[in-house]
Symmetry: C3
Subunit: 159 residues, 3 copies
C-alpha cells in the first residue's frame, strides 16, 4: 500500500479528551503528508461551535437545551471524571505545564496543515445547529454520501 | 482501490445516537453499492432485542438486571444528556419534524438493502441474551473469527 | 487483499467491557496469523497499570486524583451500569460461569501471541503516568508518529 494514505476521522462525541486524540492523530498524519478529513457529527459539532458560553438560544426546546448544556468549543467535557467541567481545565493546565499543545493550538495547526473540516448536515438539523453557529474553518456542510466518497480509500476512525 | 468497498460496523454501545450514526452510514453505504455487515456486541445487542420494555427476565441476577435496565430496541439511551430516557424521545421528535428517518425506518431500510446483522455469541453468553430475545432480522449468531473473516478487506468502524 | 492483514487497536477508554472487546478481537486476529498492535492512550493507560489499588500517588493534584479514581488494570470500570465497580465483578463472574476467558487470561494470551503493547507518551505526560507504573508487557512508550507508521496498512480500531 502506498505511503500516501488518507485518514478520515469521524468526530462524534465531542469530548475534550477524545478531540485531543483526534487532533493529535490528524495533525500528526497531515504533518507526514497524509490527506486528512475530519467529519463532525452529533456532539462533535460542539467542537466546531463558536464559543458563546452556555447560552439559551435556539428555535425550539431541544436545540435550546443542547445549546445551554453544551457551550461550544471552549467548554468541551471530559469523557469521564468531568466533575462539572473542572477536569478539562485541570487537564489543560497539565498540558501547558508539560508543553503539550492546547486544543486551540492543535485546531489552528490542523487548519494550517490543510485538514478539511466537514460538518454533518443531518445532525445539524436534529440538534438545531446552523452554519452561523460554526467557526469559519468549517469548509462545508455535507451528507453521508460525501463522507463515504471522501473515505473510500482512507482509514476511518470513529471517535 | 475499487469502488466496491466493504464496510463492517461493530455496534458496541447500543446508544440511540450512536445507532443512528451507525444505520446512517450503513444504509448510505449499502445504497451506493457497498457491502455492509453490522456486528452487534455487548450493549449493542440491546438494539437487536425485541421490545419487551424494562422486564425482569433472565436466568440469573446479572442477566435479569441487564434486561431490567436495558429494555430493547425502542428504549435505547442517548450517549449523553439522556435524562432518564427523555432526550431520545425529544430527539426522535426533532428527527420527525426535520424529516429525518427514524431508527425503526433506518433499520427496515438496512434490512431491505441486504445489510447483514450478526450478533456476537460471546457477549450473548455474558449478558444472558438468547437468540429468541432478538428480532428476526438477525442472520446469525457468530464468533470473533467470523467477524474477522468478514471484515478482512473492509473498513472497520467501531461505534 | 492478502490474508496477512495487520490490525491496530487504539485503546482509549480503558473500560472493562471495551478492553474485553479489544482483547477478544486482538487475540482472535493474532491467533489467525494477523499482526496486531495495541496502542494504549488516555484512560486506556489504566489497563496497563500495575494493580496498586486506588492509591493517592502522583506528583501533582491531577495525577493524584486520576491515580486515586482509577486503580489500575484490576479496577477497570464498565462503560455503563458500572454501579461503583460492582458490575465488572458480576460480569467477571458471568464470564467464568460461561467459560469465557477473563481479562487477565486474555492479556496473557495477547502477550504469548506476540501482540505488541505500546503506551502513548503524550497522555502519560498529561496524566502523570510513568513507565514504572506500567506492567512489564509494555514494549515501548511511543508518540503519534510511531502509531501512524505502524498502522499504515492496518485496520485501525478506536475503542
Amino acid at each position: 500500500m502506498s505511503g500516501h494514505k488518507k485518514i478520515s476521522i469521524v468526530c462524534f462525541s465531542g469530548d475534550f479528551d477524545k478531540m485531543l486524540a483526534a487532533y493529535t492523530i490528524a495533525t500528526g498524519a497531515a504533518a507526514t503528508n497524509r490527506e486528512v478529513t475530519m467529519f463532525f457529527t452529533f456532539w462533535g459539532l460542539n467542537a466546531l461551535k463558536k464559543n458563546q458560553g452556555h447560552s439559551w438560544l435556539g428555535k425550539d426546546f431541544l436545540s435550546r437545551m443542547f445549546n445551554f448544556l453544551m457551550g461550544g468549543k471552549n467548554n468541551l467535557p471530559l469523557s469521564r471524571l468531568n466533575f462539572g467541567g473542572a477536569s478539562p481545565k485541570l487537564m489543560a493546565g497539565m498540558m501547558k505545564k508539560n508543553n503539550v499543545a492546547s486544543l486551540d493550538e492543535l485546531m489552528e495547526a490542523a487548519s494550517a496543515l490543510g485538514i478539511r473540516f466537514y460538518a454533518c448536515e443531518m445532525s445539524m438539523h436534529i440538534l438545531g445547529v446552523t452554519k452561523e453557529d460554526l467557526i469559519d474553518d468549517v469548509q462545508e456542510v455535507v451528507g453521508v454520501a460525501t463522507f463515504l466518497n471522501e473515505s473510500e480509500d482512507a482509514h476511518i476512525i470513529f471517535i
